[in-house]
């Protein structure tokens, strides 16, 4: 199976090269048969990558310990669930997984658009084949997952051998979220390849019309959704497994996943400027290019350990390959842009400081500044290493100082932007639109103050959360009222009808609502507290309004590890609430590595987060570290809304009924036109 696997990978490489070279030839000669055969080569590449990936899974499931990869990342006792995850738990496997997910996207695009966008698709195919060729080069020639174990025997000849058992999977990864987090994040990273391909193809082909920008936007939304979920799952994993009480540490790998998310989010907003007003075309194209390059950079940072490899930690051979590919991509993008820049000429100018355009402009500026700040902070050790005699890193205070104000400013724009009219907004409409939301935000902040959330940034954040929430409610209410008046449906039904008629706009509001919830959660982080104590059985300690009592301890042997469990009772006002079981896990196999299982009692108000930190070496009594983290749950809830909103925005609009279509198009109210998405007036108030 390993020979079969590496053969299919090699064949996939050949097909990808053909799709790339033949694709270029097809564009030049415009020969229809060549166009067709290169598209089929693209599809074959994907199918072959699927087969290779399944071969590796087959080797993992059949416990084939003659395979280096299987030995390093699996063992006999590993459950089937984690054998699937073993695919992406090592360098070689995760690069193959990258190719696999990219192929899922590529094959969908090639098949779905085979008879559409005639002039554009050959270019798209070439760009996609180029990216696939790069990753297949790594899969085949640099980091092959199908290496067999071999040893030099007495007569000096290489001889294959098989181990009895493998080293097992890293204990930190033996956690359910580690099975769904990487596929999500990787689907995000790989997914941004598709918008990149469409944007670059449109630029190269000078493809007329706005069709490509719709396609780019749609695929960006899909990748963006996966990326958001991936980031949140990663944060949750860090929170629930690493046991330091937080979910985000501005770690280089976390930052790497945030970078394309920031530029991708910026693009999803600025693309509206292009669709409605024909502006910011150059900017948009470069945002898509940068997002893709940041994905490659992110994969590179994650995989090569260039930043975290502080003299000692993991090193890898793939660094130069990624740098080379990034450089090549940049050159291609730049040449394509220089040659075709007149194709991206802006059709309009900015009219007013207080307008929808200006809010998008500042939104993009803030996302860009955020991206530059995170990028430079992350790469700071690398740059100082190159340009100064010392290597200097910056930590969490650097990122927090910049990102908190930017986050708050973006939250403010989230509320303001949708209420501003295109071109110019009158002072009168400002008063009409913002009075209630401001009042509601103020009440929200007062409430927070009364409940003791007294920190400047948190209060501002909660004020803005209230403000944005109310603007969203008003948008839904006004639209629903119009529909309700025309159709006689109830308000809730009308709101549903409203959302279905312009899924993109109202899905966007749902995403904004999700972000509001996430920001509420972030605001809580200013009030985290913790206590750490050595506890004998029966001892108790205070944590805010809670009392924690160490009831007993036990040991629980499992298939793969032995768990040492502390049984902690949580009381509030002398009433028992919950039993918590924080554990330490000693894994067999990997040098008796340990794992920590955090126990969390989570409510909307706060999380009681209990870690069994180990035994005190002097007294041999357990040390319990307990954190009280307010509002954390809101972050995960917000994530759910973000996903639902994105799914809504991806749905096609339902046709407006005749009654509504009859609304006069000249109406200046934004709602009237929001109701009728088929109107594509350039300067409409959407």
């Amino acid at each position: 199976m390993d020979v079969f696997g590496s053969f299919t990978l090699l064949l996939a490489f050949v097909c990808a090269v053909y799709a790339l070279v033949g694709g270029i030839a097809a564009i030049i000669t415009r020969h229809p048969l060549l166009v067709k055969s290169t598209r089929q080569a693209g599809i074959a590449t994907c199918v072959l990558i699927f087969i290779a990936t399944f071969s590796l899974e087959y080797l993992l499931f059949t416990d084939n310990f003659s395979q280096a990869y299987v030995v390093s990342h699996s063992n006999r006792d590993l459950s089937a669930f984690y054998k699937v995850a073993a695919l992406w738990s090592g360098q070689e496997g995760s690069l193959l997984f990258w190719s696999f997910l990219l192929s899922v996207y590529v094959i969908s695009v090639l098949i779905a658009y085979r008879n559409k966008n005639g002039e554009l698709m050959p270019y798209v195919g070439v760009v996609l084949a180029g990216v696939q060729t790069f990753f297949l080069t790594l899969n085949n020639f640099v980091e092959s997952p199908f290496k067999t174990l071999a040893t030099v025997n007495a007569s000096g000849v290489l001889e294959p051998f098989t181990r009895m058992d493998g080293n097992g999977l890293n204990p930190l990864l033996q956690y359910p979220e580690m099975v769904i987090h990487p596929p999500n994040l990787y689907s995000g990273y790989t997914g941004f390849t598709i918008p990149f391909a469409f944007a670059l193809a449109a630029l190269l082909a000078r493809y007329p019309g706005e069709k490509w920008i719709h396609l780019t936007r749609k695929w960006t939304m899909i990748a963006w959704c996966f990326q958001s979920v991936g980031i949140l799952l990663g944060a949750h994993w860090a929170y629930a497994v690493l046991g330091w009480g937080g979910y985000w540490g501005w770690d280089p790998v976390e930052n790497a996943s945030l970078l394309p998310w920031l530029t991708g989010t910026a693009f999803l907003h600025s693309v509206m400027m292009q669709e409605k007003r024909g502006m910011m075309k150059v900017w948009n194209v470069w945002l898509v290019f940068c997002t893709f390059m940041l994905c490659i950079l992110g994969t590179f940072l994650t995989r090569s350990g260039v930043v975290s490899s502080v003299h000692a930690f993991a090193n890898s051979q793939i660094g130069p390959w990624f740098v080379g590919f990034l450089g090549l991509t940049l050159v291609v993008c730049f040449v394509a842009y220089i040659k075709n820049r007149d194709y991206l000429k802006s059709e309009n100018q900015l009219d007013s400081m207080i307008s929808r355009e200006s809010s998008f402009l500042f939104n993009n500026l803030l996302f860009l500044v955020a991206c530059i700040a995170v990028l430079s902070g992350t790469l700071f050790p690398v740059f100082t290493d190159w340009f100064t005699p010392s290597r200097i890193s910056v930590g969490a205070p650097f990122f927090n100082k910049i990102m908190i104000p930017i986050g708050l400013a973006l939250l403010f724009l989230t509320g303001v932007g949708p209420l501003l009219a295109w071109r110019k907004t009158s002072a009168d409409s400002l008063k009409r639109n913002f009075g209630w939301p401001l009042l509601f935000g103020f009440l929200f902040a007062v409430l927070a103050y009364v409940f003791d959330y007294r920190n400047a940034y948190s209060l501002v954040c909660l004020f803005l959360c209230g403000f944005v929430f109310w603007t969203i409610v008003m948008e839904y209410y006004r639209g629903a009222k119009v529909i309700s008046a025309r159709t006689g449906m109830g308000l809730l039904m009308s709101a549903h009808e409203l959302a279905m008629r312009n899924t993109r706009r109202y899905g966007g509001y749902v995403v904004h609502f999700g972000m509001v919830l996430i920001f509420i959660g972030l605001a809580g982080s200013a009030f985290n507290t913790d206590v750490q104590r050595t506890m004998n059985l029966g001892d108790s300690m205070k944590l805010g309004p809670y009392t924690l009592v160490l009831q007993s301890a036990d040991t629980k042997p499992e298939k793969n590890y032995t768990a040492q469990r502390m049984i902690v009772e949580v009381l509030k006002d002398n009433k028992q609430l919950m039993m918590l079981y924080p554990e330490k896990r000693a894994f067999q196999g990997r040098d008796q590595q340990n794992g920590t299982m955090v126990a969390i009692y989570s409510t909307l108000r706060e999380d009681v987060y209990v870690v069994f930190a180990g035994m005190d070496p002097d007294t041999n009594t357990p040390v319990i570290h307990a954190f009280l983290n307010p509002l954390v749950k809101w972050i995960w809830l917000g994530g759910v809304w973000v996903v639902m909103g994105t799914l809504l925005a991806l749905m096609p609009n339902s046709r407006a009924t005749l009654a509504v279509a009859a609304v006069p198009q000249t109406a200046s109210s934004p709602i009237a036109q929001a109701l009728n998405p088929s109107v594509t007036l350039r300067e409409g108030h959407d």
Binding site: V310, I404, Q593, G614
Partner: protein, 145 residues
């Protein structure tokens, strides 16, 4: 043109404000990386910086006291005594012969006083994909976010 000027001012204000905040954050959190060999040749002014050092925990050197843990880091034949005073429990992977990364400042008695310790097992370990940390078990750093 007047509009452009207004936007210019707006953009300028944001960029200047953010640069100022970045500069503040940089001053607060900058940390120098040194090897143990380099560390021993640093000048007095350079020793005032916050820094990170990496090495291997010397076998049998870990001594746990009350509120502190003493151990010795080795790197290419050089050794350095470390005192860990942080409040977080030492990571699960911190043991003899594990690779460790310490962050802190030089103490007065020739020992290096570490506030954070990251560690990873000496055995082959690869960074996990995605949002995983390069040395996850060892991360005892925390941010205020």
């Amino acid at each position: 043109m007047q509009n452009r000027a207004k936007f210019g001012v707006g953009i300028g204000v944001i960029v200047v404000a953010m640069s100022f905040l970045a500069w503040l954050g940089y001053g607060e959190s900058k940390t120098y990386y040194h090897t143990i060999a380099e560390y021993q040749t640093l000048s007095a002014s350079e020793r005032a910086h916050r820094m990170r050092l990496a090495g291997t925990v010397a076998e049998g050197s870990i001594k746990r006291g009350s509120g502190r843990v003493d151990f010795t880091l080795e790197e290419q034949g050089k050794t350095l005594p470390i005192t860990y005073v942080g409040s977080d429990p030492l990571p699960d992977t911190f043991k003899d012969k594990s690779q460790a990364l310490v962050e802190g400042r030089p103490g007065s008695d020739g020992r290096f006083v570490a506030e954070h310790v990251q560690a990873k097992c000496a055995s082959k370990y690869e960074a996990a994909p995605g949002g995983d940390k390069p040395a996850p078990a060892g991360t005892t750093q925390r941010s205020s976010m």
